[in-house]
């Protein structure tokens, strides 16, 4: 039996097997048997996708028994899902964070000093703009804050990229990987806060017709 297909098919009969209950069975890296990293070899991923599709797609089992067809349907939809995830670094990040318990419920609280400072500044800017009857001075304060925010978002984006690089460099060293992920979790959360602040800024700008 061909290498990449082996985990998906019965060794005896060559038919797709029902998915197991273990989360490992749904792990996109395991499904594709590619290294656990952010930077994927896209042409290789595409070739592997075709190879696996040929062995798992429901079209190959149109006249098979119901349970075989069901297994093929489950495996193929999982394959499609994993293919999409592995081609997107933000989705890989989301997956790895959730897997390590660093995102969603149970994630450690991570208020950041820089966030707090920016948040306080944002409240002051809003008050100034609204109290000052949208004066020219208030507008320039808003514009200045906006460019500061853009810089902060830029820095967060760079931190995300370098965090992903250091995860990949860890190359299976679990402690180093965990460290990189914790760092990435903090940056992700900061980026989310900054982006939501940026949306509020844009809304206020629109109200002042600043385009």
């Amino acid at each position: 039996m061909k290498g990449a297909l082996a985990p998906h098919l019965c060794q005896g009969c060559g038919l797709p097997q029902p998915l197991g209950k273990s989360p490992r069975d749904r792990d996109p890296f395991v499904v594709f048997q590619v290294p656990r990293r952010f930077h994927q070899d896209l042409p290789q991923l595409q070739r592997r996708f075709f190879e696996l599709s040929r062995g798992l797609h429901p079209d190959r089992f149109a006249s098979a028994a119901d349970d075989v067809r069901q297994a093929s349907l489950e495996r193929m939809s999982l394959l499609n899902e994993a293919f999409q995830l592995l081609r997107s670094r933000p989705q890989i990040l989301e997956f790895l964070l959730a897997e390590s318990g660093l995102a969603g419920a149970g994630a450690p609280p991570r208020a950041q000093c820089s966030d707090l400072e920016l948040a306080e500044e944002w409240f002051e800017v809003q008050e100034q703009v609204l109290d000052s009857d949208e004066s020219q001075a208030a507008v320039s304060v808003l514009v200045a804050f906006s460019s500061k925010l853009t810089e902060a978002i830029q820095a967060a984006t760079e931190a995300l990229a370098s965090g992903q690089d250091s995860f990949d460099r860890a190359g299976g060293d679990l402690v180093a990987e965990r460290g990189a992920l914790e760092q990435l979790g903090r940056v992700t959360s900061r980026a989310t806060t900054l982006k939501s602040m940026a949306r509020d800024v844009e809304r206020l700008k629109a109200r002042l017709k600043l385009g």
């Binding site: 797609h57 079209d59 489950e74």
Partner: protein, 617 residues
């Protein structure tokens, strides 16, 4: 008495159920070919006429003759009505000379009904009649029962329209193995004959629908990257443009026209459109209220009428390119599909949109059915080389607080696609949860298409927010939604009750099957003939195989009797009387007992001689 060893392989056909015409194809020795209709044509006009006083409908070219004469009894372009309610169509009802009504219970959101004479039908039933005729045509052409099919739909068809197509197949006695998208099917036929690698755009303008699909062809895999379209734009709209032009030029009012006059006008517009694909000028003539109106239509005026409609395809094409993440210049082929793409103006607009000369080498009417036949061959396991990977055309989501659409499966996700969502209860001891599923691209559910309501039942009574139910939304390879639910505490599957928003319930389908608009008696009779033929086939084959040795083994007199019994059986099998076929088969069987015994004895003798030879050595 010969042993039967051969297995009868059941054919799977490919069907293009089109707005203006339909056709059926299959693959013989790896090559797809169109099967002729019972009218002896390659195409079956998708027209069904219930002539007054006739119990049986007429279809195809015969029905087309009724289109003007019996306009009130003749349904055409019903594909545009599939999965639609009366409410959906109230602004368009003038385009159809036949009468559209709400269901008898007056529910305008239920499936629209078509009134032909004193009977009413759903578009599903009319489509089933067309499919049944195609099935009968295939059976006549292949000489065996046809029960399995692949049917094509516009790529941009939503879940309700796909369900409606599948139900029509079921009513026609077909096991619909797969619903596939028309442009994808076309690409299969296009790519098969050229063994292409590359990026192709299929621009498919049919009688009633428009689709654009972008595909990557690589190593026999046809991977759809994106699809977009408009299910209310096609050749019919070009006819409507001619009609509006004619009506306004002559200061007529379409409201004041009779159904027959409207039908005559549609007919004249269609003819003019066809003429203009070859000539630079035509004239449209229609008799209205006793006056003959005549108007010359030049090709350039016609092109002006068409352009705004065709420009509507531009946005779809651009979205498809953007979703595929490719630039125009990366495309290797632009393939045109569908009857209206014969028009120079359509080729011109498509070429402008993609900045390249379109490929018009495929047969625009037949390529979709040929592709469906190839997919049927793949499903039959005869073709391991090719594989189709398609996408879901519209985003699928559920209604959340405030009527907001929460997207679970974005458009152009590869199918089969799955999304999981956890639900809980809002009040203590709540045992059911309603989930309303929509399809579409807008943020507000009210602007999207309601697909179905799912009711999760049998939730364990518990305080609010405690139960955790995981619901899986799975879009299968047909592009049709399946919903399953599981209690995460107990692992138990939950019941899911489905109420389709625009479709027939299972009970309604059962009733239609039982009532048999689709004439079950003749089905059964036909099946008996086919069964009798299949039973007779092996003995006929075996006898013919041994006929050469018959003179030697049983004498010339007996051999002549066998030869005439063979001829008699062959004649009976060409006719349709199952009793006669069985008689002849039994006759041949009796006649060949001694021949069979002699053949067997000879074979055994040869075998034992051979064994002796081996022993001697």
């Amino acid at each position: 008495m010969f042993l039967q060893t051969g297995k009868i392989n059941e054919p799977i056909v490919g069907i293009d159920l089109g707005t203006t015409h339909s056709l059926v194809a299959w693959v013989r020795d790896g090559i797809p070919e169109v099967l002729p209709t019972r009218e002896g044509q390659r195409l079956l006009p998708s027209i069904v006429s219930m002539a007054l006083g006739e119990a049986e409908p007429v279809l195809g070219y015969v029905a087309r003759q009724h289109k003007v004469r019996d306009a009130r009894q003749t349904a055409f372009s019903v594909k545009r009505l599939l999965g639609k309610s009366f409410e959906d169509l109230k602004n368009q009802s003038k385009e159809f000379p036949y009468e559209l009504t709400a269901p008898s219970d007056g529910d305008t959101s239920g499936l629209v009904r078509i009134k032909l004479g004193d009977r009413t039908f759903t578009a599903i039933e009319i489509s089933a009649l067309i499919l049944k005729e195609l099935r009968a045509s295939a059976e006549a052409a292949l000489g065996c029962a046809v029960r399995k099919a692949v049917i094509t739909v516009p790529a941009y068809f939503n879940d309700s329209q796909r369900q409606a197509t599948r139900t029509a197949g079921r009513l026609a006695g077909l096991d619909v193995l797969r619903i596939i998208n028309e442009p994808t099917a076309a690409s299969l036929a296009y790519g098969l004959s050229r063994k292409n690698q590359g990026l192709i755009a299929v621009y498919d303008l049919g009688g009633g629908t428009f689709d654009i699909s972008i595909l990557r062809l690589q190593d026999g895999v046809f991977e759809v990257l994106s699809t977009h379209g408009n299910t209310q734009l096609g050749g019919d709209d070009l006819d409507q443009a001619i009609i509006q032009w004619f009506v306004s030029e002559n200061h007529l009012s379409s409201d004041a026209m009779t159904i027959e006059e409207r039908a005559a006008l549609i007919e004249a517009a269609e003819t003019a459109k066809k003429t203009l694909s070859e000539k630079a000028e035509t004239s449209v003539e229609v008799n209205i209220s006793g006056t003959l109106y005549r108007q010359v239509l030049s090709l350039s005026r016609f092109n002006e009428l068409c352009r705004p409609l065709l420009e509507k395809t531009r946005q779809s094409c651009e979205r498809a390119l953007a979703d595929a993440g490719i630039e125009r210049s990366e495309l290797t082929d632009l393939v045109l599909v569908g009857g209206p793409t014969r028009l120079a103006i359509v080729q011109q607009v498509a070429g402008e949109i993609f900045s390249r000369v379109p490929n018009t080498s495929v047969h625009p009417d037949e390529v979709v059915a040929l592709g469906a036949a190839i997919q049927a061959d793949i499903l039959a396991g005869n073709n391991q080389e090719l594989l189709l990977l398609d996408v879901v055309p519209l985003s699928l989501g559920i209604e959340t607080y405030g009527g907001v659409m929460s997207v679970l499966i974005p458009r152009n996700t590869k199918v089969p696609a799955v999304a999981r969502e956890n639900f809980t209860t809002f009040v203590d001891r709540q045992t059911g949860v309603d989930i309303h599923v929509y399809q579409g691209e807008r943020d507000q559910v009210s602007e999207n298409r309601s697909l179905a309501r799912f009711k999760l039942g049998g939730i364990r009574p518990a305080p609010a927010g405690i139960p955790r139910i995981e619901v899986s939304f799975l879009v299968d390879a047909d592009g049709i939604l399946q919903v399953t639910a599981r209690d995460l505490e107990t692992g138990q599957l939950q019941s899911v009750e489905v109420k389709p928003s625009f479709g027939l319930s299972d009970a309604e389908v059962e009733r239609m099957l039982a009532e048999g608009l689709t004439n079950r008696d003749s089905d059964k009779a036909f099946k008996r003939v086919v069964d009798a033929r299949n039973e007779a086939e092996p003995i006929l084959r075996a006898t013919e195989r041994n006929l050469g040795a018959a003179d030697r083994l049983v004498g010339q007199e007996q051999a002549d009797l066998i030869r005439s019994a063979v001829n008699e059986l062959k004649l009976a099998m060409q006719a349709t009387d199952p009793v006669r076929i069985r008689e002849c088969r039994d006759g041949l069987n009796r006649m060949t007992i001694s021949l069979a015994e002699k053949v067997l004895a000879e074979t055994l003798a040869q075998a034992s001689r051979a064994a002796e030879e081996t022993l001697k050595k």
